[in-house]
C-alpha cells in the first residue's frame, strides 16, 4: 500500500512538472492522481468544499480559504479558522449532495470517513480523495500537503510545512531515544482499548520509534482492542499515551485521568514516574491526518518526553 502511494505521488510529481512547462501555453488544466482515480481541475480552484476536518486542517495550514465545511465535530483548535459564513455540507460521514451541487464549487475534497462519497460526488463536482493509510501517517500528510500545494498554487508553503514536519518528527525521535516502551490507550465511557502500529496514532510507534509494550494488536476502526486494567499492569509500559474519547461527552478532560487513577494503573512504571501523556482528543481522533493536528500531538508528546 505504501509502495502504491509512493508511485502515485511520483506520478503526480511528474504530472505537475509536465504541467508547469505547458502552463504558459494555455488555460491551466491540472490533473490530480489520487486514491480513487484522476481528476482534472481548471486553474486554481476558488470555491472549495471540504468534507474532512483533516483536509481542512491542511488547507488552513497552507493558507487556502475554504467555502464549505462539515456540519459537525469541528475540532476546537481549528474553531477560529473556520469562516463564519462557510456553508455546511453534511456530516463527516454523510455529505449533503444537494448542498454540494448547489454550491457550484471548483473542487470538492473527501478523505477517510467520507471517501465512499467519491463515486456520487465526482459526477457533480471535480472531486479529489485525500485518504491516508494509517500505517504511514507522516508520509501521507506530506503527500497530501504536496498535492494540495500543487492544486492551490502554494508549492512553496507546502515545502515549508513539510520541512517543519520533518524537523519536528526528528526532534521527537531524538527525545524518544532510550526512553523505554509505550502503550497508546483510548478511553471510551469507562472502557479501555489499546492502539497498535496500524492505528490512527501509529506514528508514535512507527515514526517516533517508541517501542510498543504489547505483542500484537488488531486495530479496529474505533476503539482498538478492549483490555482490562490488569493488562496495563502486566504490560507495565514506561509511557502511556492516552486518547480521551470521553472528552467529547462533556465530562471534559478529567474523565480519562479519573478512569486511569486506580490501584492497578498506579502501580505501573508509567504512573509511578508520572509518564502518562494525554493527547488532544480531537486531533488524535478526528484530524490525525492533518498537519496542525499532527504537529499539535507531536508537541504534546515532546513536552511529555522532555518533562
Amino acid at each position: 500500500m505504501q509502495h502504491h502511494t509512493r508511485i502515485s505521488a511520483f506520478a503526480a510529481a511528474l504530472m505537475a512538472g509536465a504541467l508547469s512547462m505547458t502552463s504558459l501555453v494555455s488555460a491551466q488544466e491540472t490533473t490530480i492522481t489520487h486514491a480513487q482515480g484522476e481528476t482534472t481541475i481548471n486553474g486554481v480552484p476558488e470555491t472549495v468544499l471540504v468534507q474532512d476536518w483533516a483536509v481542512f486542517d491542511n488547507l488552513s495550514a497552507l493558507g487556502v480559504e475554504v467555502d464549505g465545511v462539515p456540519s459537525s465535530n469541528a475540532p476546537s483548535y481549528l474553531a477560529d479558522q473556520i469562516p463564519a459564513d462557510a456553508i455546511q455540507i453534511g456530516s463527516l460521514f454523510e455529505p449533503d449532495f444537494e448542498g454540494i451541487a448547489a454550491a457550484e464549487a471548483d473542487i470538492y475534497l473527501v478523505a477517510g470517513r467520507s471517501r465512499t462519497a467519491y463515486p456520487t460526488a465526482s459526477e457533480i463536482v471535480p472531486t479529489v480523495d485525500l485518504s491516508i493509510d494509517n500505517n504511514a501517517i507522516v508520509e501521507g500528510v506530506k503527500t497530501n500537503l504536496t498535492k494540495l500545494g500543487e492544486i492551490f498554487d502554494a508549492e512553496d508553503k507546502a515545502a515549508e510545512l513539510i520541512s517543519n514536519l520533518d524537523a519536528k518528527v526528528a526532534e521527537v525521535q531524538a527525545a524518544a531515544e532510550d526512553k523505554g516502551n509505550a502503550l497508546v490507550l483510548v478511553t471510551n465511557a469507562g472502557n479501555i482499548g489499546v492502539y497498535g502500529p496500524d492505528s490512527r496514532v501509529s506514528w508514535i510507534y512507527n515514526e517516533i520509534g517508541l517501542e510498543s509494550a504489547m505483542t500484537e494488536v488488531e486495530d479496529g476502526d474505533h476503539g482498538g482492542d478492549s483490555v482490562s486494567f490488569e493488562y496495563i499492569l502486566e504490560m507495565n509500559p514506561d509511557w502511556l499515551f492516552v486518547i480521551d474519547r470521553d472528552a467529547g461527552v462533556g465530562e471534559s478532560t478529567g474523565a480519562a485521568a479519573a478512569l486511569l487513577d486506580n490501584e492497578l494503573v498506579n502501580q505501573t512504571s508509567a504512573a509511578k514516574q508520572d509518564q502518562i501523556v494525554y493527547l488532544d482528543p480531537q486531533a488524535a481522533y478526528i484530524t490525525m491526518h492533518g498537519y496542525n493536528g499532527l504537529m499539535l500531538m507531536l508537541d504534546e508528546v515532546l513536552a511529555g518526553l522532555d518533562a
Binding site: 479501555i192 474505533h222 478492549s226 483490555v227 482490562s228 490488569e230 461527552v249 462533556g250 486506580n262
Partner: protein
Amino acid sequence: MRLLLLALAATLALAIASLFVGVSDVSIGALLSSSPDDRPIQVLLISRIPRTLSLLLAGSSMAIAGLVMQIIVRNRFVEPGTVGTTESALLGFLIVTMLAPGWPLMAKMLVAAVFALAGTFLFFRVIATVPARDVLLVPLVGIMLSGIIGAVTTFFAYRYGLLPTLLAWEVGDFSGVLRGRYELLWIGLVCAVVAYIAADRFTVASMGEDFTTNLGLNHQQVMTLGLVVVALISAVVLVSVGIIPFLGLVVPNVISLMIGDNMRRTVPWVAVTGAGFVVACDIVGRVIRAPYEIPISVVVGVIGSIVFLYLLLRTRRSAA
C-alpha cells in the same frame, strides 16, 4: 432442593475459577508463597474478587428482573430489554450525562431508574389498549416501543457527537470493574431479595386484578413494586456494566421448563442460574482472545440466542 444445592455448588465453582482467570498470574501457589503486599494478592483483591462479585450480582439480578417482568406481564417472551425498560434507562443516562456530567454515579443511576420506570409504565399503557393480549403481540409491541425509544436516544447521541459513548454503554463489559467501581450492583441484590419476599404476591397478581383483589391484595401496589424492582435493577446494571442481552429472557424460560411457574420456588433457581451463566460467559470472553477481552454482551448474545432458538423449536415440537 438437592438439585438447587447442586446448581449453587456449580455456580460457586465457576466463581472460584473466575478468580484465577486473567492477564496477571494469580494462582493458588503464587498466593500461598507470596507476602500480603505482593502483586498476586493485590490483583486478587483489587480486580478479581470485585469482578467475580459484580458478575454474580449482575447475572442474578438481571435474570430476576426478567422473571418479575414475565410474571407481571403474564408473557414468557418479555424482558426489560424488549419492553423499553433498558432503552429508557439508557436514554435517561445519556440525558443526565449531557446535562449534568459532574453528578455522582449514584445520582445518574437514579435518573436512569426514573426513566426506566417511565418507559415501563408507557409499555403497560400501550399494551392495555391492545385488544387481544396475544402471546406474540405483546412482545412485538414491546420491541417496537424499545425501537422508538432507542431511536430517540440515538438521535440525541448523534446530534451531540456521543455515538461512540452510547455504543460503549450498550455493550455490556466487565473489563473496567475494580474495587470501588462496582458497588452500586449491591442495590441489585437488595432488589432481588425484595422480589423473593414479594414472590407470592407477584404470582397472585399475575392471575389478574379481580382475583388479586378477591384475595385481599392491592393489585396496583403489587404491580408498582414489581415495576420499581425491574427499573432499579435495569438502571443499576446499565450504569455499572452496560446491557447484558437475552439474560432476562433465557434464564427464566429455562427454569420454567425445568421446575414450573411458582415464583417462590423459581426465584432462587433463576438467581443461581443467571449468576452462573454470566460468570461462565465472562470467563469465555476473557480466555478466547487473551490477553484482550471480548465483551460479555457478545458472548451472552451468541450463546443466549442459540439457547433461545432451541427453546422455541422445542416448544413447538412438544406442542405439535
